[in-house]
């Protein structure tokens, strides 16, 4: 029976999609535009971590994992640098355009930013695929019929921890509550004394930071390539839309659904059509629930 294995693979892929889709859905929620450059945060983060790992890379690894401390430090550096990249992008491109109040301008500009960033990545790091480690990641049978590598398990656990932390942040901290308030009603938030500009900065930091984790994990479990972000942007949008764009829980659920659908469709339709399968499921979900699974009534 191949089904349990496909589900496990789907959860691994779905975890990275969920992490990536959170930023996308937050950007849409607070700034009302679809940021097509979001995938590039994943690409750049993978290379930021790679630069650190290859500069200080040692042979030391944690038990069955293919990486050690340098990777963990590289991951943290990637999160910080990607958050800064997101803020710079907002400051240079999106913030001046937001004043025009024409959403389509922002969307098209994000396409431009995507192309620009993807080419910058090729220019600096080449178009060859790279890896953090040459160590072979061994897949062991962890449940009957389910083989996972230690790296995969690390990925799923890290994603779960980040989700719990995000949930605590949104419900327990002042900044998290302010962020939900701006999402709920930006005009009221403003007269309540919340600086929407400050909240927008935090959306880039958190959304960019989570995208960075996603990008580094894709780099760890798949490969590092300048095409990573571009090839993930459509599944990321599918995840955000299936879940209900604007909803963080929706992005998480949507990420897992798209990951599972892609994985389960492989034996039926072949790997080359897995994105099509994801979009078919997205269309079916939207036909039944036009605002997505967790989408709010507007």
């Amino acid at each position: 029976m191949i089904l349990p294995q496909l589900i496990a693979d789907g959860i691994v892929a779905g975890s990275t999609l969920a992490l990536g889709a959170i930023g996308l859905t937050m950007t849409y929620d607070i700034m009302r535009f679809a940021n097509f450059a979001h995938g590039e945060f994943l690409t750049f983060a993978a290379y930021f971590a790679l630069m650190f790992v290859s500069a200080f890379g040692g042979v030391q690894t944690f038990g069955p994992l293919t990486f050690g401390w340098t990777f963990i430090v590289g991951l943290i550096i990637a999160v910080v640098l990607t958050a800064i990249l997101a803020l710079v992008l907002d400051w240079l491109i999106y913030r001046p355009l937001r004043r025009t109040n024409i959403v389509i301008t922002l969307v098209i500009a994000s396409f431009g930013a995507e192309l620009m960033l993807r080419n910058i990545a090729v220019f600096f790091w080449g178009s060859q695929s790279r890896f953090y480690s040459t160590a072979i990641s061994i897949h062991r049978e962890i449940l009957p019929g389910v083989r996972m590598s230690a790296d995969d398990i690390f990925l799923v656990l890290l994603t779960a921890v980040l989700m719990i932390l995000l949930q605590l942040f949104l419900t327990r901290t002042q900044l998290g509550k302010e962020m939900r308030a701006v999402s709920d009603n930006a005009d009221l938030a403003r007269v309540t004394g919340i600086s929407v500009r400050r909240i927008i900065r935090w959306v880039w930091i958190i959304g960019g930071g989570l995208a960075a984790v996603s990008g580094v994990l894709v780099g760890l479990t798949v490969q590092i390539s300048p095409e990573n972000g571009f090839s993930l942007i459509l599944p990321l949008f599918a995840a955000a839309i299936v879940g209900g764009i604007g909803s963080i829980y929706g992005a998480v659920a949507g990420g897992l659904i798209i990951g599972l659908v892609e994985s389960l469709s492989v034996p039926i339709m072949g790997a080359q059509y897995k994105l099509a399968a994801a979009f078919i499921v997205m269309l079916v979900v939207l036909l039944v629930r036009p605002r997505g699974i967790f989408g709010a009534k507007s």
């Binding site: 308030a181 999402s183 709920d184 007269v191």
Partner: protein
């Protein structure tokens, strides 16, 4: 009355003015002025109601004071400090709280979270707790439902959340935009009696209302606006008897009483 005695001995004649709006011209777009030289004054401790037909600029007046509509000329002062050019999100810090007419609660957030956000810029945890207790005392219904999302509440309860949220900032001046909008007659009475209780907390208020009678009954003074200007200004009981006001609202030549 201690309050009026203090007013009489004030050396500076303006010391008891809480809010002063003077000759203000303002509008949402550069082409169109909604307020065309409006002057309104609220003294410390007063409840002042602004009346007027639809399109007279009542809501725009409040939004302009709240920093949501750009001021083209004139001056707005809160206890002597100019508010012109101050961003909307800094008004609460200046002591000015504002309850919009519609969508005035964070629907997806709990009542408790709504109230906490009202006090968001403050950093005195003890004071916040004290005020929270005060709000629950003023609006006992809110305590019962504090964990519930504000969007699940009835119109009257939502209005209470909105007022309580604004009060959590410990404002010196509270502006209410049509607190009775969309409420049943019974609830209108309840909301206005709560507003009277709020005054006891020492909050000065500026209210914009369609329901002229209910608002004037609890007010000290009132203004009647028409086409972006202040036309009539008088004590509340005089306005209630004023045939001009009656004509405006009831189409009769009698006053509202």
């Amino acid at each position: 009355m201690a309050e009026s005695a203090r007013r009489d001995v004030a050396v500076d004649g303006h010391a008891d003015i809480a809010l002063s709006v003077r000759e203000v011209v303002a509008g949402y777009t550069a082409e169109l002025d909604i307020l065309r030289g409006i002057t309104v004054e609220v003294k410390k401790g007063e409840i002042v109601t602004v009346l007027g037909p639809n399109g007279a600029g009542k809501s725009t007046l409040i939004k302009t004071v709240a920093g949501l509509v750009p001021v083209r000329s004139g001056e707005i002062k809160l206890f002597g400090d100019s508010l012109v050019g101050v961003s909307a999100h800094r008004m609460v810090g200046r002591g000015l709280a504002y309850v919009p007419q519609t969508q005035n609660v964070f629907a997806k957030l709990s009542i408790l979270e709504n109230l906490e956000l009202g006090a968001g810029f403050r950093h005195d945890r003890a004071g916040m707790k004290e005020d929270l207790a005060k709000m629950y005392e003023l609006f006992p219904r809110l305590y019962e439902r504090r964990k519930q999302a504000a969007g699940t509440l009835s119109g009257g309860e939502r209005q209470m959340v909105a007022v309580a949220r604004a009060l959590m900032a410990r404002p010196t001046m509270l502006m209410l935009d049509e607190p009775s909008a969309g409420l049943s007659p019974k609830l209108v009475g309840m909301v206005f009696s709560k507003i009277r209780e709020v005054r006891e907390l020492g909050v000065t208020m500026l209210i914009v209302e369609q329901n002229a009678k209910a608002a004037l009954v609890i007010s000290d003074r009132g203004y009647v606006l028409a086409r972006g200007e202040d036309r009539v200004s008088d004590a509340a009981d005089a306005l209630l008897k004023n045939p001009e006001v009656g004509a405006l609202y009831l189409g009769s030549k009698q006053g509202l009483l």
